[in-house]
Amino acid sequence: MIYFDNSATTPCLPEAGAEALKYMTSGYFNPAAAYAPAVQTEREVNAARAAILSEISREPGDLIFTSCGTESNNTAIFGSLAAMRGKGRVIASGVEHPSVYEAAIALREQGYDVVFAPVDETGKVRLDGLAALINGETRLVSIMHVNNESGAVNDISAIRGLIKKASPDCLLHVDGVQAFMKMPPVPCDLYSVSGHKLHAPKGVGALYVKKGVKIRPYLVGGGQETGLRSGTTNVPGIMAFSFAVHDFAAHRDEYVSGMAEVKNRLYSNLSSIRDVKLNGPEPGSGAPHILNVSFMGVRGEVLLNALSERGLMVSTGSACAAHKRGRNRILNAMGILGERQDGAIRFSFSHFNTVAEADAAAGLIEEQVNLLRRFRRR
């Protein structure tokens, strides 16, 4: 099987899985308990926290462990606004993940002035468009670091500069689920990450909270995570996450350049098929692991099914949106419509993928695209 859907989830590193098992079977203590082995577990969790934190930000702050990227995004958005006085403007981009986009829609119903920033044809937030939206009443801006469907990378430093100029108290939240470890850290107030996109198990995520930023907790109870996220600490998930982060950090250049090589190879192979259109930034300038192309005259879902039968796993859009009927919100915002939207396929890579896989995949795709084009709507 060739797995090119790593933006949906990644295989867990066996060693990260072993680490989780260790903390389920021998280091299983509740870090909130008082006896010595529990204290030891707590120390290990805190060491993991510090290690992951150091990869997210160079500015002082805290890391709250959560259950997933969605919880991190929801906590960042609802939690930070709940800790502020009054309601003002909230800005998100039009291509955010549903866990940000739907949160913004919910805020609008609560009476916030919610506006969506425009993106260019690659899915990158337009700075001029964003600048025009930021006013003195703006409380929160939420912009993703890397777009999960197109691989576009936002210029977070520039965005932060815009915000500080126009509304100094406004917070910047960055959904870093697709970018974490693959892109250099960016300055912001809140940053969301998720373990399973990085070869840790599902069920663990984290939210970076810059020093001084206030959050009102959504889950209350035992007061874990300095009171910001109650619930028994997910020690196995956290320790596996930490392992995966260590592993990535130790091989970063190799991993990132490996993914980029697979991506570039696949794109150059696919470019030889006629009527293929790139959706997103030129491969050299986007995130190293996401490639989105349209095969004109072919329906993405049909091609996906045909490829799946031949052992190649790809996606027609974010797995979180694939169950929803209707048109693709992200591609709509990028101005990719009609036949080009219908034929869009996203490929996403991990360091486990190889150039040989890219070659084999391109062969399968070409064969199926040519076959299906014979049956296109004439």
């Binding site: 049909v302 799946s308 209707g326 709507r377």
Partner: protein, 389 residues
């Protein structure tokens, strides 16, 4: 005191000498529906009594019976000794419970029936006597003999039955009493409703689904299995035939005129379904077609499709609007599954401008220009069969 479900049945009583046959079928279906709940089912004077259901399973049993065709209504009743004070006690207890509901109402009427003619009061006396006791106990109520909001029924038989609720059943005829037919099931809204409606008239169903592996997904297949399962909650066990259809579709698409592809595809589907139906002992086909809904459901297209088979084709939705079909789908619980967005075999290969008024001669000629027989045999041979219940 024992809790009993008192079941009234539908037009079976019209069936003259065949009546025992229908009653037996209904009781068998009720037993099947209540499997695992250890029911004791008895038939008596035009009613069916279900006893032996434990307290915790009572509402589950009631719910299942509302999906058994042939049942007109169901009353959860208590059965008590005929001693008058015991009867009154049971009636007051039931009324008390009934009045807990916010919309219970304030008017009532007692309906007494006495088949035990040796009982010391007649029906009229029971009505008056019990009515008085209810009024004493619940002074906020009043009697309304014309339009009572609460109907308190007392039946004096070998023992006494008291109830004040009548829950509508699924009506129709007992499944299996009308023979067997094969439903062509897609993944859409209409075909499960069509299957439901014909099962309601007493048919046992089998179902035939065509899929375009690998171009339709595993989820599309799971969806059809799930829809069949939802229909089987009413229709009982359904044998589902999953027919691989990709080769035939691709051949049609490559060799026949493009605008005719949909109608030819439907003719071949009907042919294969008829073959499967015959092998199953089914005497008719069922489709979810509705006149004029899409290009392949115009009168002309239906004539051309019909021409492919000799069996009767039942189209219970033929005169229904989409909205009406959707209402039934929601009521029987298939709607939410039907609208899951997966490509199905009819949407994978579809012409942009299908012919809306196909001519039978032309279609026959186009179809005859290709030899489909080998492909049809192969599709039937590779059909997967599963029992869904």
């Amino acid at each position: 005191m024992e809790k009993v479900l008192l079941v009234r049945y539908t037009e079976i009583h019209l069936k003259g000498l065949n009546r025992p046959y229908f009653e037996r079928a209904l009781i068998d279906n009720m037993k099947r529906s209540l499997r695992g709940l250890s029911p004791v089912i008895e038939r008596e004077q035009g009613r069916i009594y279900v006893r032996g259901i434990s307290e915790e399973n009572f509402s589950e049993a009631l719910d299942r019976l509302t999906r058994v065709f042939g049942i007109h209504s169901i009353s959860p009743a208590v059965s008590v000794d005929k001693d008058w004070e015991t009867v009154v006690g049971a009636a007051l207890g039931l009324m008390e419970k009934r009045l807990e509901a916010a919309d219970a109402g304030t008017s009532f009427k007692v309906f007494a029936r006495r088949s035990d003619k040796h009982y010391f009061m007649n029906s009229d006396q029971i009505n008056k006597e019990l009515g008085g006791r209810v009024l004493n106990r619940f002074p906020s109520l009043h009697v309304d003999v014309h339009k009572p909001e609460i109907k308190l029924s007392v039946e004096i038989r070998e023992s006494a039955y008291v109830y004040c609720e009548e829950i509508p059943g699924a009506n129709g005829m007992p499944t299996g009493t009308a023979g067997k037919a094969s439903l062509l099931i897609s993944g859409g809204i209409d075909s499960p409703v069509a299957g439901y409606m014909m099962a309601k008239r007493g048919l046992t169903l089998s179902a035939v689904h065509f899929y375009s592996y690998p171009y339709t997904s595993e989820r599309a297949r799971d969806k059809v299995v799930e829809l069949t399962k939802l229909v089987s909650r009413y229709a009982g066990e359904i044998k589902l035939f999953l027919v691989p259809f990709t080769d035939i579709q691709m051949t049609i698409y490559e060799k026949c005129p493009e605008k005719e592809t949909t109608v030819i595809m439907r003719r071949l589907m009907m042919r294969i379904a008829e073959r499967i139906a015959k092998s199953e002992g089914a005497l008719a086909l069922i489709t979810g077609e509705s006149l004029g809904q899409v290009a392949s459901q115009t009168l002309e297209a239906l004539c051309v499709t019909n021409d492919a088979v000799s069996m009767p084709v039942f189209r219970p939705l033929i005169g229904f609007d989409k909205d009406e079909i959707m209402d039934i789908a929601r009521r029987i619980g298939t709607y939410e599954t039907s609208i899951l967005p997966y490509e199905d075999c009819c949407t994978v290969f579809v012409p942009k401008h299908p012919v809306t008024k196909p001519k039978l001669d032309e279609l026959r000629a186009s179809e005859a220009s290709v030899d489909f027989s080998g492909m049809i045999e192969k599709a039937i041979e590779n059909t997967e069969i599963m029992t869904v219940k």
